[in-house]
Symmetry: C2
Subunit: 249 residues, 2 copies
């Protein structure tokens, strides 16, 4: 086992990095599956030919990345890689940039528009039924910004899921937390105006119908229309929230 570690790394890389890449490659190769338990730290350190602190540095790094679940007194377990890591990485990458929200929204539109095109080809009956169900929930919960926002999000998530593309889904999940905040806030601002909510429901219904008709161009158009409405609302809110301040200042 020691030899394995030594052979696939130049001796220039330090110990902790060596152990880190060792486990990462094992994960990528599928040698380690989710739920697997690692050997105790002391044995592992001995087997890999490094001291316990060095091993721990590598293990902690993997844990911070969300790849390992280390439990006091129990051991270290391989965790199924989820999108939360991606989301964190994205957040860190985008942290120094200003006006991230608009930008991430563009990424969201990108993902969804492609997803709905794929969904028009690939969506199963179950997918369509799921989306239809969420649409009903959306209509029911018009007067509850919390539930309504949740249904709204669920609708779009179901769209992406119906595309059958894992990559799109993961990226969408990664950017979702960044969108969530604005999603609910906007809803809270606008849910009282019947004209807007009715337009919102119409837009969602139109998207769904186009998808059910398996018409990619029409579906994408409907979706873009929906986003335009949202954009318009955001501008309106920005203005109405900003004007008073300017007057008072």
């Amino acid at each position: 086992m020691l030899d394995i570690v030594r052979q696939d790394n130049e001796e220039t890389t330090s110990g902790a990095a060596r152990v880190f890449t060792f486990f990462r490659d094992r994960l990528l190769a599928g040698d380690l599956k989710a739920g697997d338990r690692l050997l105790p730290e002391r044995e592992l350190a001995l087997a890999l030919g490094v001291s316990r602190p060095v091993l721990r540095e590598a293990l902690r790094s993997l844990a911070m990345l969300g790849l390992l679940d280390i439990q006091h007194g129990r051991g270290a377990f391989v965790r199924a890689a989820d999108a939360s890591v991606l989301g964190q990485a994205l957040t860190l990458c985008l942290a120094p940039e200003p006006n991230i929200l608009d930008d991430v929204l563009q990424a969201r539109i990108a993902i969804e528009c492609q997803a709905i095109r794929l969904a028009c080809e690939r969506a199963s009956e179950r997918d369509l039924q799921a989306i239809a169900g969420i649409l009903d929930t959306l209509v029911e919960s018009l007067d509850d910004p919390e539930r309504g926002g949740g249904a709204d999000y669920a609708f779009h998530l179901a769209l992406v899921r119906a595309s059958g593309s894992v990559a799109l889904m993961k990226i969408y999940e990664a950017i979702s937390p960044l969108l969530m905040r604005s999603h609910v806030e906007r809803r809270r601002d606008t849910f009282r105006e019947p004209a807007i909510t009715s337009r919102l429901v119409d837009a969602h219904r139109e998207v769904f119908l186009s998808l059910a008709r398996r018409d990619p161009d029409q579906a994408e158009r409907a979706l873009r229309e929906h986003f335009l409405i949202g954009d318009e609302l955001r501008r309106k809110n920005l203005i109405s929230n900003y004007q008073p301040r300017e007057i008072t200042s």
Copy 2:
């Protein structure tokens, strides 16, 4: 400084995790900028009230994430967050899934189609000139799969850059390494057929012209057309590469 660490974390979290989130939050908040040098490990451990191994575990984790650049004999420096972290995270998330390549390609199409729409609105003259220059390189290097592939990639990257969306750009950079391989391979398979290469150049030129005309719908259509050509080629290659095996087996 010790108090700061203690206050914004429950005492349930372990020391290394506490230090880790401490620095991560500092990075997110912008208190630590790229190029900044951290205090020596010994002083830092003292200041934060933890032992040196614990501090090292946290620092290592940050380094593995690409947020820190630890140099032997010099010190630890804050590194500008780049897309490579994102790419690694994405790779890890998608590792267990089969047929990732097609899937990532869908993500690429999603990003580019949205990017070109934005680019039609936002692209500067310099952006357009840059793309035009790459187009020339593309034409010149038709007979060199290596250079041609590079120019092809540069063309699409320039498209996304012209969108002016950092988020789209980062995500595109993140998925690029996963695409690179197939990109060059495909090119190597097809570059000898003049009919194909001429179609390829026409497709790129068409995309560029639509962008220069600031026509989002037309630009997206041209881009999708281009991807369809690529898809067609891929199928053809798959078939021609697969048939012989089936016969010989």
